[in-house]
Symmetry: C2
Subunit: 306 residues, 2 copies
Amino acid sequence: MSDSHFDTVAIVGIGLIGSSLARAVARGKLVGRIVIADRDVAALAEAERLGLGQAYESDVADAVKDADLVVLCVPVGAMEAIGKAMAPTLKPGAIVSDVGSVKASVLKALSATLPAHAHIIPGHPVAGTEKSGPGAGFASLFDGRWCILTPPEGGDAAAVAKLKGFWAAIGAEVEMMDAAHHDLVLAITSHVPHLIAYNIVGTASDLETVTDSEVIKYSAGGFRDFTRIAASDPTMWRDVFLNNKEAVLEMLGRFTEDLTALQRAIRWGDGDALFELFTRTREIRRRIIDAGQDSAAPDFGRPHEE
Amino acid sequence: MSDSHFDTVAIVGIGLIGSSLARAVARGKLVGRIVIADRDVAALAEAERLGLGQAYESDVADAVKDADLVVLCVPVGAMEAIGKAMAPTLKPGAIVSDVGSVKASVLKALSATLPAHAHIIPGHPVAGTEKSGPGAGFASLFDGRWCILTPPEGGDAAAVAKLKGFWAAIGAEVEMMDAAHHDLVLAITSHVPHLIAYNIVGTASDLETVTDSEVIKYSAGGFRDFTRIAASDPTMWRDVFLNNKEAVLEMLGRFTEDLTALQRAIRWGDGDALFELFTRTREIRRRIIDAGQDSAAPDFGRPHEE
């Protein structure tokens, strides 16, 4: 069980991440057969038109019955229902993983619903774009990106090694982490950033003194950077906040505390405090670029005519 | 005075914006002569090496003496000192403008220090990148971007028309606005976004439970989008907050109020409130793309291998 080959993989949910996974797996010829499941018949039909798999099922119980690996690519709030639906037909010894942005709640939902013979290994490839749907995926989405696996304590080592090999074969860098720590790390690197992006876009569109047209027209001043992630899938993100409540509230509390201190510095004209922070934050950007986690091109490399 | 040609333009401050302006003016052959001034001798030497102008002065009084147009490309906190320094040698009838991100305080500082014969017309091209210095500029920075002019009431109409023509010849779209309204609009589209970007980068780097290395490693989850503008010039941004205090505090108050409501929705599990906001914000993104104010490419068009 140590190599990374699976005979049959079921990808449940064929949105941006599911369809990118299907493409990446096909590109690498990593599995014998891909079964694609989605209860949304339009998405399933589009997946079929795009030729993303070898079989297409609207019923998850049918989709998983021959699968050695099931990857759930659905909003984290749907895990419990899907776990229940697939439990009766899941093959003994199958690995069940996912790509959700929250890990402790997924582990809990799947552990509560799947049979004891299943190897539950939650996962989270830290990759994506603001686009949604089967047509938005692309095979290179995970290339060089981190994929975090959060196996439960006492989980089957061979199954973990096999899933790790699978993601490495896709092109991702694999990291192992405790589910609770994952949820804390992602709260600050992903969940709170999304929340404040959604929030400022909401605040801007609710103003009476500045029109929406003005907000849009002058968004190049900085605002537009926030609108990208505020265009992400609403169902997915609603579920993230509902399922990572404690860590998000903890990080949000710190963010607000720091923002209140900045507000006070502005009110009292404390330029040194502002300058000190604004200098320190440059260094983090530099390290992100050095680590290959973002483009060094000005403006993210947005097109400028030269 | 209605055409857009100036015999001599003095560009005071040769950072990202000043050097882009020099390049754009040269590209369009829009003026007879460009005089570049900067009190930073290293920046001035780099400007000369790059051939950005026809003359280079470290003393602003010398730089402006033949200029028909002076464009101040310095942090807004420096306007008063520069106004004082150039007042004695400013040519009668010269137009004095700037590129600062705050307008009411600039109008006030220049009106208080420049002679009555000067035509003071503050301006703000809404364009830039997170890079700084003479080498970071490029000629197309203002192409198709908005440039807001905020002439004082009763200002000389011919001078305003001439400056408007100048920016249009550069390639910008010119909009006229009251200085106070400008400061309110930019507080929400630029200043508060920068503040919360700086703030979250600071919050993330101060955590004890999540290391800086983890923050950097998993920044692709959303955080990295914030680090770009949090890498902007610290002096410029300190001055923006100190000089647009009222509008920033007003917009920040609304942002915090809305964020507190979202926090409450998360705490009480109000998924509908989250979903409603997350759906509404997508529409703003769509309108920004439709208005040509951002790229529609996923991830801002960051490079992905296909």
